[in-house]
Point group: C3
Chain length 109, copies 3
Amino acid sequence: MKLLLTIVQDTDAGKLQQALIESGFDSTKLSSTGGFLRQGNTTLLIGVEDHQVDTAKKIVESTCRERTKIHTPGPTITDLEGMSATRPIEVTVGGAIIFVIEVEEFLRL
Amino acid sequence: MKLLLTIVQDTDAGKLQQALIESGFDSTKLSSTGGFLRQGNTTLLIGVEDHQVDTAKKIVESTCRERTKIHTPGPTITDLEGMSATRPIEVTVGGAIIFVIEVEEFLRL
Amino acid sequence: MKLLLTIVQDTDAGKLQQALIESGFDSTKLSSTGGFLRQGNTTLLIGVEDHQVDTAKKIVESTCRERTKIHTPGPTITDLEGMSATRPIEVTVGGAIIFVIEVEEFLRL
Ligand SMILES: Nc1ncnc2c1ncn2[C@@H]1O[C@@H]2COP(=O)(O)O[C@H]3[C@@H](O)[C@H](n4cnc5c(N)ncnc54)O[C@@H]3COP(=O)(O)O[C@H]2[C@H]1O
Ligand SMILES: Nc1ncnc2c1ncn2[C@@H]1O[C@@H]2COP(=O)(O)O[C@H]3[C@@H](O)[C@H](n4cnc5c(N)ncnc54)O[C@@H]3COP(=O)(O)O[C@H]2[C@H]1O
Ligand SMILES: Nc1ncnc2c1ncn2[C@@H]1O[C@@H]2COP(=O)(O)O[C@H]3[C@@H](O)[C@H](n4cnc5c(N)ncnc54)O[C@@H]3COP(=O)(O)O[C@H]2[C@H]1O
């Protein structure tokens, strides 16, 4: 078994979990926050049998969209003196980030 | 060392953490949501030495109960036309789900 | 790639994420609760290339401080009879706990 630790945007999380259920995949949702944008996102734990990893990846790929977000970097010390106000920048946030991790043993107790 | 990524029902989480402490096991709690029932559950991270994995499993097994929950599936498009209102179904939720993961290195900094 | 599952005190989490960004490391934050103190702490997911693991560890070590916290154990049954009220104890909470986990595959979809 593999654990797909999958980080997606909040807007895609519900659709993705629904698509997983329809294909017979279980998942668990954790609320999370991105390190760079400091905005909420979703981390899903998806345990899948080895032979189903490719199917699960395709489901993630087809439901999660790349988007552009506006990010206004926090003021640094120099900015607070008022002259160089930080300009908002466009940041592309990917569809999904997946860490595939080997599961040594899977138990239902 | 192994990381036991353990998903249990909210009602068992407190009891389980207490039983772990009494046996000298540390743990970290994450709030989570089940993919199918969309109800809150608890994901525990439990790092244990290799020779203690079986003891930790037994503690999880003795404190977490299987239960039956009533689940009313969300309306699908056809349901909203009013004819085939979704009937609640009984769903068995296991005592605990455990993913045993190998830890390459454990650090206390 | 390795996943550094890093548990730190809430007071250090912001500083650590900022220091990681400045060194080009991405991270994802999960809110968590310690099993013993039952107080909030922070679990960070930090995916790093193999050759950068030591650099990431040094960043964690330099931003997270060991602290002493006062912990008042919950009353046990005997305590509630009023005689042996639980005295607060001093507990040292480490700077950071890191589980280094092998990532079989890292995907940006
Ligand atoms: N220093 C920087 N300068 C300019 N742009 C930057 C940047 N760091 C990140 N970005 C961009 O900002 C997007 C959101 O990052 P955030 O950290 O909020 O949200 C991230 C983070 O929560 C997670 N993530 C990505 N890589 C990770 C890693 N190696 N370890 C842990 N979490 C990761 O996945 C989310 C989406 O990542 P994604 O790469 O698609 O999208 C990223 C990336 O395109
Ligand atoms: N398509 C379906 N049709 C009918 N019944 C279904 C179903 N999917 C799940 N169930 C049932 O519903 C219970 C609750 O699932 P839920 O996803 O909310 O909550 C799950 C989920 O959060 C987690 N989980 C289970 N398997 C997982 C996996 N492979 N990957 C990630 N999380 C998993 O553990 C919780 C308890 O799972 P458990 O198997 O004991 O209990 C499950 C299962 O008996
Ligand atoms: N039975 C006991 N008797 C006396 N003192 C005890 C104790 N159990 C823990 N402590 C002390 O209390 C501190 C906070 O533990 P807590 O479980 O709230 O918060 C923990 C927990 O969330 C996590 N953690 C530590 N070891 C872990 C493990 N093996 N598995 C999962 N999470 C762990 O890291 C946090 C910080 O741990 P750290 O070791 O630095 O600091 C610990 C430790 O010094």
